[in-house]
């Protein structure tokens, strides 16, 4: 709700936002979503799903407005806060819900994720200022469509990143988006052709395994290189296959058959490269968050300077087909205009999407 008041979200500044005339947009967005869902199902009473919700403005009013039957399982106070979101989601998880749908932005996404972790898939109605996390539908209508398909069993559960602004950096006057972890969310199922006109669903997890197999084979074939592994779930799978303790959120280094650096910062990475015998390295990254950034979101350690030293041709992008289905472009925001321009000029990259499987993906120079 802070957007129109010129704030970067309302985390901790709700009162200030209200004083500046900000009005919550979430209830309206939630209502739009629920109305669209009722329409898709052919009536508010035909959704074929059970809705559990919180009292008042935290869900019950919106469901009632859309005419959808629901059960209130959490009593919300008049003025709600993040603590209520967390308490309500814990209650939902305890009751064994299949999916938690919330309206908000990255801040709310983090609250929900903090409450349930990876025990329940979560999905967001876009109504915040920052929406970098990979769990938001693009519009309320798109959310309704996804929910409709989810109820019909047409969507799978996959992994997505929880992203938000780095508050510490923000207090220093820097605008940094970082990754906080991974959660479960709704994804389009991917089908692979098995034989003549027969398709089988392939999970995102399987795709990650296949990508990991490919990357590990490359690492073994190129033992003389220093391998810099970026953050995220796909690279975590690579680490697992290598048999190392890869950090989910950090940048790690691997060479000569072992892990030689963990959660490295820019300086440490540059020093490692300088002291490495061949001075040659490859950087493996995956698109992070909802907008498909391969640099500049959650991996600022891999700076423009480091990329320049390694060389653009030694940047390996890995992405699951599910991720590319949701965001079919790659974006770059290294904070260095020259470097960003080099990527923009390149225009596209061959991303590794499975074992020995490559797909051309466009590099979108537009910043988000």
């Amino acid at each position: 709700m802070g957007g129109r008041a010129g704030l970067k979200g309302t985390d901790g500044v709700v009162e200030k936002a209200k004083a500046l005339g900000a009005k919550p947009v979430s209830p309206h967005r939630a209502e739009e979503t629920l109305n669209a869902l009722a329409l898709l199902c052919g009536g508010a009473n035909k959704t074929r799903a059970e809705f559990l919700t919180c009292s008042g403005k935290m869900g019950a009013e919106e469901l009632a407005a859309a005419g959808i039957a629901h059960e209130i399982v959490f009593d919300a106070p008049e003025e709600t806060s993040a603590a209520d979101t967390i308490a309500a989601c814990k209650r939902f998880a305890k009751l064994g819900v299949d999916l938690i749908v919330f309206a908000g932005g990255d801040g709310t996404a983090r609250d929900v994720w903090n409450a349930v972790g990876k025990s329940v898939p979560i999905f967001g109605i876009p109504s915040g200022v920052k929406m970098h996390s990979g769990i938001f539908g693009t519009t309320p209508e798109a959310v309704a469509k996804a929910l409709h398909e989810c109820i019909g069993g047409e969507l799978s559960i996959g992994e997505a990143e929880i992203m938000d602004i780095d508050e510490e950096a923000y207090r220093r006057g820097e605008w940094k988006i970082r990754m906080f972890g991974t959660c479960l969310s709704l994804v389009e199922p991917m089908y692979v052709q098995q034989g003549k006109m027969l398709f089988e669903e392939q999970s995102d997890e399987q795709a990650k395994e296949d990508i990991a197999e490919h990357v590990c084979e490359e690492i073994n074939l190129n033992k003389e290189l220093l391998w810099i592994l970026g953050p995220g779930g796909t690279l975590e799978a690579v680490g697992k296959r290598l048999g190392i303790d890869k950090t989910l959120l950090g940048v790690d280094a691997f060479a000569g058959g072992k892990q030689i650096g963990k959660d490295l910062n820019e300086k440490e990475l540059l020093a490692l490269l300088d002291n490495y015998k061949s001075n040659k390295a490859r950087v493996v990254v995956s698109p992070i968050g909802a907008q498909g950034f391969i640099f500049g979101r959650g991996n600022l350690q891999i700076s423009a300077q480091l990329i320049r030293r390694v060389g653009l041709e030694n940047v390996v992008v890995v992405a699951t087909p599910g991720k590319l289905a949701a965001t079919p472009v790659l974006r770059v925001d290294t904070g260095n205009k020259k470097m960003d321009a080099l990527f923009a000029k390149k225009g596209y990259m061959l991303a590794v999407i499975g074992y020995r499987a490559l797909k051309l993906v466009k590099i979108d120079s537009m910043k988000l």
Partner: protein
Amino acid sequence: MKRNPTAFLKEDYDTLVRNKLDWKIRQLEGPSAPHCKIEGREMIMLCSNNYLNLSNHPKIIQGAIDAAKKYGAGSGSVRAIAGTMDLHMEVERKLAKFKGTEAALIYQTGFAANAGLIPQLVGEGPDGKRDIIISDELNHGSIIDGVRLAKCDRGVYKHGDMAELEKVLREADAKYRRILIITDGVFSMDGDIAPLDGIYKLAQEYGAMTYVDDAHGEGVMGPDGRGISAHFNLHGKIDVEMGTFSKAYGVVGGLVAGSRDLINFAYNKSRTWLLSGSHPPAVAGAQLAAIDVLDTEPQHVKNLWENTKYFKQQLKSIGFDTGNSVTPITPIMCGESAKAKALSDAIIKDGIFALPIIFPMVAKDKARIRTMMNAGLSRDDLDRALAVLEKNGKELGII
């Protein structure tokens, strides 16, 4: 350990049935003909690959009978050891002549050709530099399986998109040893064709090999049904022209046409060819007769295209969307899966045999009935099929 080693058979099958992804095998009682008897009912066949109705051609049937009488029921061995008869060699010679290539090679099936040849064409060099296959995203499952058996990287380009193919080529150029571009000639879900002229041009520019799977184009495309390469005036220029005798030719068997070097290479390296028994003489005799019929009786291909043109035009004037088809494969777009299934059920009740193609074989909103034309259907047959489609299409709100 105590375990039930075969429990998965039933479990997996039950899952397929539950998700409605299992094949319902339908039985033909009699020949595959324009008018078929299927499970006790007379039907107009609109989904066989027997485009030219050659499986019922008297000369081809006679070719099979004569060869069986002269050479026996079986061939006794794999081709490489003792299973090559003069008859088999004669088919390969005739086929090469018909296709306008130096040489040709017969595989047991089209699938065997793709699964046996593709993996041999690529690999990695002694320096560890790998090869890459660049493949159209809508290529057939047998290509996909052939590619899977190959020890190389694979890149995909957007269906028929030459700009994207060039970008992939540009990216791959320096990194890889050999580059192999593979495409279907005619795409079996939409009935559209590959821009082979564009692919050939790019392949020349980047020094890439070209491989076309023309299963649905052999006997259909180009002058006298000589295939997609002939259609683009590129006969003898595509490195590997792969096709099949099982569709328009009306028999069975895979075929590869290309240079003498290619065939010599395949004779010695292609495992599906080396390790399966050769075709029975009756099959080879029928293949030989089929090539003769195509070469000397142009009316079949002509009828097929006249029927195709009429059927497409009428479908469009009734109000059906027939997608991007330019071949005898004409999809009738229905939208969501349920509509396509309903239309198929309804027309089968009315004696027209054509099946739905639904998600995940095609996109969720692109479910369709796939029809395949036959040269042996009369104008009356087509009008009857069109009337049934119109009536049911209207009732279901598709048109």
